[in-house]
Amino acid sequence: MTRLQRILIWIFCAGVALWLVAPTLVIVPISFAEKKSLAFPPDGFSLQWYANILNSPDWSGSIVSSLKIAAIVAVVATVIGTLAAMGLAKMKAGPGGILRAILITPMIVPGVVLAIGIYAVYLDHQMVGTLVGYVLAHSMLAIPFVIIAVGASLAVFDTRLETAAASLGASRITTFFTVTLPLIAPGILSGLLFAFVTSFDEVIVALFINSPTLKTLPVQIFASMTRDSDPTVAAVGTLIFVLTSFTIAVGLWLGTRRRRS
């Protein structure tokens, strides 16, 4: 490769990277704005919007609700999705494929359609604005992601290892925990992460089923944006951005460290 080619590739990659992170980076300066405006670039500097997150029950409450719901959804969807993926992997190709397609439909059906259906049922059963309601709806949306992530791990998992474990004296359960689980753990972990994010990020269904007493962060952001231009949104966004970047960095670091040892 010539020097020129290398420089061109560098410039191209830097351009793509900038394109991908620019929208995220725009919110960081806005979050420190002095006036109540979402103008970019902002004037002055203040931490008042960060303080506002803590002081306003609307913001802090919705953040806590979102984290709680997403955490429960992540666990529920991961357990159910993993079991489903394992069942599918053991089925014959034909019926297994059909069942898999059915299980994945929540991913393909437009969110609004699902939301209307869910809302209609929840109204009848007094589930609007309840924790159980959120968890059920979001788990349904998250399970397909877990099935896909775990299914991909199972596709490369050598089931003959389970036969070998049996010959060495391991029962099915022991085999699952000592052989299968450790080997498909990366798939389960990414399924867990997807499930968490699916719930944490979900707006459409949440807009339909929220109530003044229980609403998630995306609903609060949406409400805030439609009411006024409050830079608290940017402060929340910045916090989430920092937290997720940190989590991913730690994850990558652990991943490379494990591989090297």
Binding site: D158, R160, L161, T163, A164, A165, A166, S167, L168, G169, A170, S171, T174, T175, T178, V179, P182, L183
Partner: protein, 373 residues
Amino acid sequence: MDAKHRGAAVDIRDVTKTYGTFTALDKVSLQIEAGQFMTFLGPSGSGKTTTLNVIAGFTDLTAGEILIGERSVGNLPAHKRNVGVVFQHYALFPHMTVAGNVEYPLKLRKLPKADRARRVAAALAMVHLTDFAHRYPAELSGGQQQRVALARAMVFDPPLLLMDEPLGALDKKLREWLQLEIKRIHRELGTTFVYVTHDQEEALALSDRIAVFNKGRIEQVGSGRDLYERPETLFVGRFIGESTVLTGAHETRGDETAIKVGDQWVGIPGRPAGAGPQALLLRPERITLARPGTGAVAGTNRLPARVTEAIYLGSGVKYEVTLADGTRGIARMTLADDHFALGDPVEVAWQKHEARLLADDGSSLAAQSGEDK
């Protein structure tokens, strides 16, 4: 521990296994003595792996019974059979080190830590892998991985060890060395070994007894020598070693049976065991090639032929000849014997009692696709 009493006898009684309408095993019966080295030999698809799998408990049997050391294992799941298995594809756990793999069955048996460490060390020493204990399977060569698999399968002292073509994926040199290792380990442990292979040389090198499989049945069980010198079916005779097979119409003449090869009759003592077409089987060492019309001896059969191939083997010469009726024959001669060139007319001669009279079961070399694999 007395090495000679650690193996378990295996008794396979009328075991049948069907997949839908296909019969993979057809009433297979076989007794394996405690501590014996038994090899399953046979062409591809003949049911060797299936038999091993029903012994190990990986496959349910359709009918019949299996006893391991007097105990019927029909209803026992694989993980309760206490049978070691070595797979052709190694099947090592990639997320555990070599030591972790070998320790796995001991952990399941809840042995104390010190005991486990001692046994893992002993098993790894047995397969010469002591220095590799902390490596992961991905960091080992094929032969090393297979030795770990062997250590893992025997570390918990199973009375029975099953091996399905364990050396199938390895090159010839390594295979020969590991054959010796396996034989040594068998001698040291006294465990009953059941070994599956395609390779007849491997079977002859390792086994006390060999069971020859064909189409879901066992054709014959015996030592390598039995199978070579006294095959009971034409299939076995053709599958083990090299042979010349003569076929044709037959008739009984007193105590002798005569078979018409081309337009000539050859005789063999004894009568055919059943009705139906008969065949004569000759081993290459039993055949002498002679110049036409020379050295006739009483009690020998002679058939005219032409030399089509001469292969120098160092210890002797192997000749391929074609008989008048087109049959291909193989003769092995010592260096002291007469020499023949390609195309030479010769006479194929053998003592009448040195051939074997067998029912012609229609088996042909072409059907034995697994032979040289």
